[in-house]
């Protein structure tokens, strides 16, 4: 047993014992004891955000770029409710974060006290698990359980709600960082027979495809290496979800590009026509499947996922393996090597895929007067690809263009809000990455609308002299909203014009950061280089073509082989692309 310390000190000691170097937070009445403990130590660095949502996304960015657990500290009431969006975001994207929230003293709970909210009630639906600590004796165990549950199995957000009197109370602390849990036992084995059965299916397949997802990234960098080896060994084509980009290199030979609603033609056609689909660490999300009863009609489907609830949730599969993706790949490679397996020649399949590639689905009309948004991402990629670069995004057209045109060769380099689609995610997330990786080049690819949702975090970036760069594709619209209004609401552009935008250069300067603007394609490269070379936070206002839309696109309610391509699509086709059944989909 350890010596007696206060609850607040236990919180900080747990963070230290769990290897947490930086936390993001915002003080307030119900967390003052914890902030007092922060003040009196040097092991854990605290980054002061400007809004608790910023803290939650910064913790996500920290977690996603390092593979460690991200931590945020918020006060009771509004502090906790402001963090709800980030917790929900982390739940949908399986990001391990621990939220420590202050609560009114135990004897005031339930009295509608000042800044009281039923935080565990509110966050029950948006965390993997949460706790209200009512006894100082439970605090060390709960704190360490929180970290264990956040990072193990399918990772996710957890919340520990600590009343102020518990923070003041003294108790014995024990380092329980090796703790497990009496009821929570994530899968840690793999069914070798089932993996053999998968290899059998692979041997018979003529038109196989790997459909990988964020589960590979969450499994750790080793899983990405194994995936590359697996692809090399089998010569199977591979596509990935938005969340899985970077697990297999975007410049790799077998890469088809991202799949789904704004995925490539070749990836979606190959998904539709394949005879074996190997889904590793993805979850058949509606952005991926399109019309569910026309989804890949001729294929045998294998699903590898660490979360049993993902199996058969949206799409019935033929074979499922509940295990860590890395473990699966390791076991499959062992079996393939042991059997010295011969696979079918996929030559004909590759020939077919190459013919789809020739469609050149990402082409767009170049312009020498106006910067095309796609061109901006291409140039950004070319000028940053040889650096230690991390890209985050907000949500919308810019996000899809970034996914299409920026090639990720390593995991953990791409951070985006996939499941929840949170505008305002990218900039605080980028700050979180920059805190974890002070020497890296961290760029938030943003839209003019999204960036305003958490722009206050620029103050945080300036305070800590973070080098975070904000690259705004400024088209003066909520572009994706406008695109959908064009597609299914008769081109009635309702409330999606970004009226009264700030002057982003002046805005940067007002915060004490640097602002750069580019309006012409000819000045783009120099301006990007200037952004990279400028120390401290920079807002890059990249003024792009106003009305460009994001293609290719599977209109909602349509199947994979029913894509709209950008080059040859007429306004009329756009207007009629979605039928009545599709209109109810989001």
């Amino acid at each position: 047993m350890g010596k007696k310390i206060t609850g607040a000190e236990m919180v900080i000691q747990t963070l230290h014992d769990q290897g947490v170097e930086s936390v993001f937070g915002y003080p307030g009445g119900a967390v003052l004891p914890i902030y007092d403990a922060i003040f009196q130590q040097e092991n854990v660095k605290h980054i002061l955000v400007r809004h608790e949502q910023g803290a939650s996304h910064a913790a996500e960015g920290y977690a996603r770029s390092t593979g460690k657990v991200g931590v945020l500290i918020v006060t009771s009431g509004p502090g906790a409710t402001n963090a709800v969006t980030g917790l929900t975001d982390a739940l949908l994207d399986s990001i391990p974060i621990v939220c420590i929230s202050g609560q009114v003293p135990t004897h005031l709970i339930g009295t509608d006290a000042f800044q009281e909210a039923d935080t565990v009630g509110i966050t029950r639906a948006c965390t993997k698990h949460n706790w209200l600590v009512k006894d100082i004796k439970d605090l060390p165990r709960i704190m360490h359980e929180a970290f264990y549950i956040a990072r193990s199995g399918r990772p996710g957000p957890v919340l520990v709600d600590i009343p102020k009197d518990i923070q003041f109370a003294e108790g014995e602390y024990e380092n329980l960082s090796k703790t497990t849990h009496k009821t929570y036992t994530p899968p840690n084995t793999i069914d070798g027979k089932a993996v053999s059965a998968v290899v059998d299916l692979m041997q018979r397949a003529k038109k196989p495809i790997i459909y990988s997802g964020g589960g590979i990234i969450n499994s750790g960098p080793k899983a990405s290496k194994l995936l590359q080896k697996f692809v090399q060994k089998t010569n199977m084509p591979i596509t990935s979800t938005l969340m899985g980009l970077g697990a297999y290199p975007g410049s790799g030979d077998n890469w088809l590009g991202m799949l789904g609603m704004h995925g490539t033609y070749e990836a979606n056609m190959a998904m539709h026509d394949c005879d074996l689909m190997l889904c590793i660490g993805a979850r058949f999300d509606d952005r991926i499947t399109g019309k569910i009863d026309e989804f890949s009609p001729k294929s045998k489907k294998v699903h590898v996922d660490i979360d049993a609830t993902s199996i058969n949730k949206n799409v019935e599969v033929d074979l499922s393996i509940i295990a860590d993706c890395g473990k699966f790949l390791n076991e499959a490679l062992k079996i393939i090597e042991k059997r010295n397996n011969k696979f079918q020649s996929f030559d004909l399949w590759w020939k077919q895929i190459d013919s789809w590639k020739k469609v050149n689905c990402l082409q767009y009309k170049a312009n020498s007067d106006v910067i095309m948004p796609q061109y901006a991402i291409q140039r950004l990629y070319e000028l940053t690809k040889n650096k230690d670069t991390y890209i985050t995004t907000e949500v919308g057209q810019h996000q899809m263009w970034a996914a299409q045109f920026y090639k990720f060769d390593k995991p953990n380099r791409w951070l985006t809000s996939g499941g929840l689609g949170t505008m305002g995610y990218g900039f605080p997330a980028a700050n979180g990455v920059q805190v974890a990786k002070p020497d890296a080049l961290v760029i938030d690819i943003a839209g003019d609308a999204s960036i305003l949702m958490n722009i206050q975090e620029l103050s945080t970036a300036v305070q800590y002299q973070l080098n975070t760069k904000i690259f705004i594709l400024n088209n003066s619209y909520m572009g994706m909203v406008r695109q959908w209004q064009q597609l299914l609401h008769g081109n009635r552009i309702s409330e999606s014009y970004s009226d009264s935008l700030p002057d982003f250069v002046k805005l940067a300067e007002a915060y004490g950061a640097t602002g750069i603007r580019a309006k012409k394609p000819a000045e783009l490269d120099d301006a990007i280089l200037e952004m990279i070379d400028t120390p401290g936070p920079v807002i890059f206002d990249c003024v792009v073509a106003n009305l460009e839309n994001c293609f290719p696109m599977i209109p909602s309610g349509k199947a994979h082989n029913d894509m709209l391509l950008g080059e040859n699509v007429s306004d009329e086709e756009v207007a009629k692309a979605i039928d009545d059944d599709g209109k109810i989909m989001v």
Partner: protein, 185 residues
């Protein structure tokens, strides 16, 4: 359910399957909020709850048993089981539907039923209660309260019959269930 505009992905899948009724026994840590976690999951994912009972059952280990009757297509029932099992506070989930599994399970329910009336109706109510082995636990000049235990469908039948002899109020406990034989849940 509107089949053309389904409310959730679960509805789409269940279109061609018939609904089944399942009794699930959910063993949970007896801690504050655990019931809210379980029923919150049902509400959030659009699963049905037909009946629910919960009580501490093994106080030494601080365990509670939630017995929950739900209905849905076989694929939805499967989803319910894995979703509930994923909750951190849940030890295990067992399907204790009477005719499910190798040995099946025992399901019992208790109901209190109030009937009001005089004359022949009153006599008929008493005769029916006797036929169903229901106990009379309260009586006044113009009312009875009967207590009946049994399987859900027997109680349903009793209540249906009582409707024609002056039924005014019903209170049911919901299903309690245990596995048959020596094995435990």
């Amino acid at each position: 359910m509107n089949k053309k505009n389904p409310a959730s992905a679960y509805d789409i899948i269940s279109i061609n399957e018939d609904d089944e009724r399942h009794t699930l026994s959910i063993i949970v840590d007896d801690e504050p909020g655990v019931l809210a976690r379980v029923i919150g999951l049902f509400a959030a994912r659009g699963f049905n709850i037909d009946s629910l009972t919960v009580s501490e059952t093994e106080s030494k280990q601080q365990l509670s048993r939630i017995t929950l009757v739900t209905s849905g297509s076989p694929s939805v029932i499967e989803k319910i089981k894995v979703q509930v099992d994923r909750l951190v506070s849940v030890h295990r989930v067992a399907d204790l539907t009477a005719d499910y599994g190798q040995y099946g399970a025992l399901e019992r329910e208790l109901a209190l039923i109030k009937v009001k009336g005089t004359g022949n109706k009153r006599l008929e109510a008493l005769r029916l209660a006797e036929a169903f082995d229901a106990q009379t636990v309260d009586a006044s000049l113009d009312s009875f309260v009967f207590q009946i235990t049994g399987r859900t469908r027997e109680i349903d039948r009793f209540i249906n019959l009582m409707a024609s002899v002056g039924l005014t109020e019903v209170s049911r406990t919901g299903v309690a269930a245990l596995k048959r034989g020596a094995g435990s849940t």
